[in-house]
Assembly symmetry: C2
Homo-oligomer: 357 residues x 2
């Protein structure tokens, strides 16, 4: 399973790199002749062929069929991303576009993530996505309520992860400001710091006692709170620039496209995948190499966590074909994600460290 990175001769690395990059550009299998022509390799096509055969034996290249050129395998891409990739120098235009995004003052995390994923999509020309990860054991830190009319009010919940949710509560009986004040006071005292599973019957009974035994109101409200808590740790996945997928021939057939659309539709696989990875660097998931997510078999996910005050609050990334322009995408996401995190109050990392996982 582990890659024999050290074992690879310098020339093999160069050849692999050339093949990956040629294939990223052209999308077609690349042959030995092409390599000799275009690159600074001084050897002949026959030598390249021998090397290519060995690279294939190592599982780094694949042949669609005899007498076609070679295509990088997933392991090949992985090796490329991990060790062969050169820094991509962002163009002034790209930097400007990111900076312009940063100028737009948006106060809501959702909006920022959404916008950022759109920018990621348009800068890289792949499909962009934004994720708010699943959170475990979200609790409520504060309740507020706002009266609408005699039969309904808005319940506002501030969660431990900083999210805010509201819900329209319609009650059978009558409510007024005084009842609401009592309710919020009781909720703040009794039902904070509990996650969805920790709300027990005793909590509810204690609450009822505080609310003069108005069990209808209490039940309605508790149901709402439970619902909101479940919502809060649900995670979210938003996709932008889906139509960009179509320009890549690997998604021209229904097979791959269907798999990917299905995965996006279901959300959970991608959500789990992204939520399961921590850290602040850009991550690259190539195909289903780690076999956990079977569904995005022929696509690559690249994403960068967004952090705020030391916590991961989301992620932005792009989805595209295996032969993704990794250099560019990594640079773009790194910069964009860093800026977004910075915008959210995260200290900027000054050292340009290793960005791979």
């Amino acid at each position: 399973m582990s890659l024999p990175i050290g074992e690879l001769s310098e020339r093999k690395k160069l050849i692999l790199k050339a093949i990956v990059e040629a294939h990223i550009r052209g999308g077609e299998p690349v042959g030995s002749k092409y390599i000799t022509e275009s690159k600074q390799l001084t050897c002949s096509s026959a030598t390249i062929r021998n090397e290519m055969a060995e690279l294939e034996a190592l599982g780094l290249l694949e042949q669609p069929h005899t007498s076609a050129g070679r295509v990088p395998s997933k392991r090949g891409y992985r090796l490329y991303v991990d060790t062969l990739l050169e820094e991509y120098a962002m163009t002034a235009k790209e930097i400007a576009q990111i900076n312009q995004l940063m100028k737009i003052k948006m106060s809501e995390l959702d909006q920022i993530l959404d916008k950022a994923s759109k920018v990621a999509s348009s800068l890289t020309n792949y499909t962009g996505f934004a994720i708010k990860p699943r959170a475990h054991a979200v609790t409520v830190t504060k309740y507020e309520a706002a009266l609408i009319d005699a039969h309904s009010f808005i319940l506002i919940v501030v969660a431990s992860n900083g999210a805010v949710k509201t819900r329209n509560v319609i009650v059978e009986g009558e409510v007024d400001d005084k009842i609401l004040a009592r309710l919020t006071a009781a909720l703040n005292e009794l039902v904070t710091g509990l996650d969805a599973e920790q709300i027990s019957l005793s909590t509810i009974i204690a609450l009822e006692n505080r609310m003069s035994g108005d069990s209808v109101l209490v039940n309605t409200v508790m149901k709402c709170i439970y619902e909101m808590l479940s919502d809060l740790d649900g995670g979210e996945l938003k996709v932008s620039g889906l139509d960009r997928l179509l320009q890549y021939p690997e998604f021209a057939d229904t097979e791959n496209l269907g798999e990917l659309l299905g995965a996006i539709e279901r959300k959970d696989e991608i959500l789990d995948l992204v939520s399961g990875i921590d850290g602040e660097d850009v991550n690259v998931v190539i195909g289903s190499e780690d076999c956990s997510v079977k569904v995005i078999n022929n696509s690559t996910l690249v994403f960068k966590p967004i952090r705020s005050h030391g916590k991961t609050v989301g992620a932005i990334g792009v989805i595209g074909p295996l032969r993704m322009d990794y250099a560019r995408v990594l640079a773009t996401l790194d910069s964009l994600g860093g800026n977004v995190s910075h915008l959210l109050g995260e200290p900027k990392v000054s050292d340009k460290g290793d960005k791979h996982d």
Copy 2:
């Protein structure tokens, strides 16, 4: 432009109906022989051919090429939907599924619409969508605020269309409950009933006076309010079951699919289209027959407005190929949409009136 409905002989209608239905089922051009065989038409294929030629001259049928069968044109579908469509009898299973949806108690419009569009998609096997239409001149009917810490609070806005929006407001100076109380009181007094365009400088100045000239706070808040108001009348489009598109051969090529995905991506065309249509019946938009929405040239949109307390608050619908199973889709959406509206407090329409536009 107007269709010569009355002019069509009974037999022509029957033939057109048979062709549309055969083509919906099979997806392929249908020939004269097929009609004579399968249907109760007593005449021969030659007669059918003559009739078909005339129907084609009327613009109701099309020929992909000579020596292929006929395919309904957009006008043909339109005529079919408007006058030839027979009621679809929903199966017990479908009814049960809708009823089950109705049992799920959800309090938020967004969730209900979202869920309903998913059900629409799964019942019809087309792509479902849910829309909250653009609203003009949304105003705020009530403000509330909830303190988070000394530098931030949550601003809650109840809009004239019943929607609720919250925003995290971070201020330079310090805030406390007392300041917030004054702020909300002032806002409720001075900045209600105004839409985004009507907020003038004098409003802001009046507000500043009330807030002891704290122009920083006032400006921050007003910017937020403006943003929220703009958000509120923005409209929303959510799509579910996108992958279902792929099973229809008309979306197998990149062309049509790209157009449709692009339109969904941009949202505004579809939003405008749906927002522009009022009433409570199911609407059918076939291709870009009315030339306003050029982009969904080869798809059909069917949607039903969702009403609550006499107002249109959203719409659910499906997107699919031109040869959509109209009978089924219309029945499903009519029933589903009616139920959702009912759930939202709209009186149930008892008379099963004409459901076409």
